[in-house]
Symmetry: C2
Subunit: 238 residues, 2 copies
C-alpha cells in the first residue's frame, strides 16, 4: 500500500526534501579576498562537471564587476569579477549562499551586505561563511547562539563582531546547524569539501578533491594557524 502511494507521487516531489541543493549564490563586495571566493567556487565548478544542474548567482550592490582591490592599502594588483544579480534583486529560491572575507569586510558602510545576509538567511538551506566574512554574518545576527570560526590573523577583530557567538579558535572549519564557517582563506576549500561530502556524498567529495589535487585536511580541529596567530576561544556574553 505504501509502495502504491509512493509510486503515484511525482518523483520530483518525492525526492525534493532530500535532494542536494542546486541554486548557489556568492556575495561579492569591493576588496573581497580572491581565494575566499575561488577556493569554494573551484570545488563547485568541478562538482558541476558531474552535477550538471548546479547554478551560480554572483551578487553585489551593483551589477558592475567587483574588484579585489582594497581602496586603502596602496596596492594596484587586483582582479574584477562579473556579477549577475544585485542584492536588491536576488534570484528566487537561492539555496546556498557563500560569504567571503577580505579587506573589504572593514569598509565603513556594509549595511547593504549585512541586511542582505540577515534577510536571506531564513530562506537558505545552507550558508558557507569564509574568513573575515564571518564578521559580516555575525553582524547580521546569524551567528547568534552558535559556534563559529574565522580568520586567525584577524581573530580579535572578527570575534568582536558578534558577542553572542562561541568563537572556536582551533578549527579549520565549524559546522553548526546549516552553517559551515571556515577559518582564513585557504581553509574555505577544506570547509567546502566537507560540505560537499556531507551533502552530496563522500565519493563525490573525494572525486573533486583528487581532481583538483587538494591535500585535504579532514579533521576540522587540525589548525596550525590558531597557534601561529595566538587565537583563543571567545565565549558568548550572557
Amino acid at each position: 500500500m505504501l509502495f502504491l502511494v509512493l509510486s503515484l507521487l511525482p518523483l520530483s516531489i518525492l525526492a525534493s526534501p532530500l535532494a542536494p541543493p542546486t541554486k548557489y549564490g556568492v556575495l561579492l563586495f569591493t576588496a573581497f579576498q580572491a581565494l575566499d571566493v575561488f577556493g569554494p567556487l573551484d570545488v563547485l565548478n568541478t562538482l558541476s562537471f558531474t552535477e550538471k544542474n548546479l547554478t551560480l548567482s554572483i551578487l553585489s550592490r551593483e551589477l558592475s564587476p567587483v574588484s579585489t582591490l582594497p581602496l586603502t592599502m596602496g596596492t594596484k594588483f587586483g582582479q574584477s569579477v562579473v556579477t549577475t544579480h544585485t542584492l536588491s534583486s536576488p534570484p528566487p529560491d537561492l539555496e546556498v549562499l557563500i560569504v567571503p572575507g577580505g579587506a573589504g569586510t572593514r569598509a565603513p558602510d556594509l549595511s547593504a551586505e549585512i541586511e542582505f545576509i540577515r534577510n536571506i538567511y531564513p530562506s537558505l538551506r545552507y550558508l558557507v561563511s569564509v574568513c573575515t566574512g564571518n564578521a559580516l554574518v555575525a553582524r547580521a545576527g546569524v551567528l547568534d547562539g552558535r559556534k563559529a570560526t574565522g580568520n586567525k590573523k584577524a581573530w580579535s577583530w572578527v570575534t568582536q563582531q558578534g558577542n553572542k557567538t562561541h568563537w572556536v579558535a582551533k578549527a579549520r572549519w565549524v559546522v553548526d546547524g546549516n552553517i559551515w564557517s571556515t577559518s582564513g582563506v585557504s581553509s574555505a576549500v577544506d570547509g567546502t569539501l566537507n560540505f560537499v561530502e556531507k551533502v552530496y556524498g563522500e565519493g563525490i567529495a573525494r572525486d573533486v578533491e583528487i581532481g583538483i589535487e587538494w591535500t585535504r585536511i579532514r579533521d576540522p580541529s587540525q589548525d596550525e594557524f590558531a597557534d601561529i596567530w595566538g587565537a583563543k576561544d571567545v565565549l558568548p556574553l550572557e
Copy 2:
C-alpha cells in the same frame, strides 16, 4: 675608485639586475580552471599588500570578460573575469607570465594563445605554468629540453603535448631555469609560494603563507597525486 664609480650610478640602474619583478600577467582563455588562476593570484594579491609596486595585466584574445564555463561539458556553473589587454597588444616589459590550465586547454583552436606564449617567453624573466596549462607551454616549444610537470589526472594527455620534455611525475612543482611548472590546480599555490620564496625571500613567502592559512608543501617531491592517478615519468624522445 670602485666606490666612487658605483656611487655616481643612479640607484635604479645599480639595483635593477637584482630587483624582484613587478610586472605580472596572466593568460586567460574560455574554460580556464578558476583555482589555477586565483591560487597564484591570491598569493600575489597578498604579496602586493606589502610589495605595493606590483602590477597585473589580464590577457586574452579579446577584451571581453572570460568565463570558466566549458562549452562542451554541460555545466552551467561558472564565473567571468574582466580582462585588461588582448594577446595582440600586451603591455610592454611584462616580466612574469602565469599560464593556467582547465578544460579550455583542449579547445580545437588555441593558436593565438600558443603563439603568444612562444613570442613573449624570450622577453620574460619568469614563467609560472599550471596544471594542463603546461600543455600549452609545451606546444609553444618553451618546455623543449626542460624538466616540467603538470596535472596528474590528465597526465597522459599533457605529456603527449611535448615530446622534447622530461615530464616529472612525482612532483608538486618543478623549477627548470626561469620556469616554475606546477602539477594540477591546487599545487599552483605551493609552486607560487616557492617562486615568491626564491625571488622575494623566505620571510616574505612565510608571511603570505600564514596570512592565507595555507598548509604549505615545501618538498616538491611530496606528491600523493602521482600515485593516485598512476602517473609515471615520461622521457623526451631522441
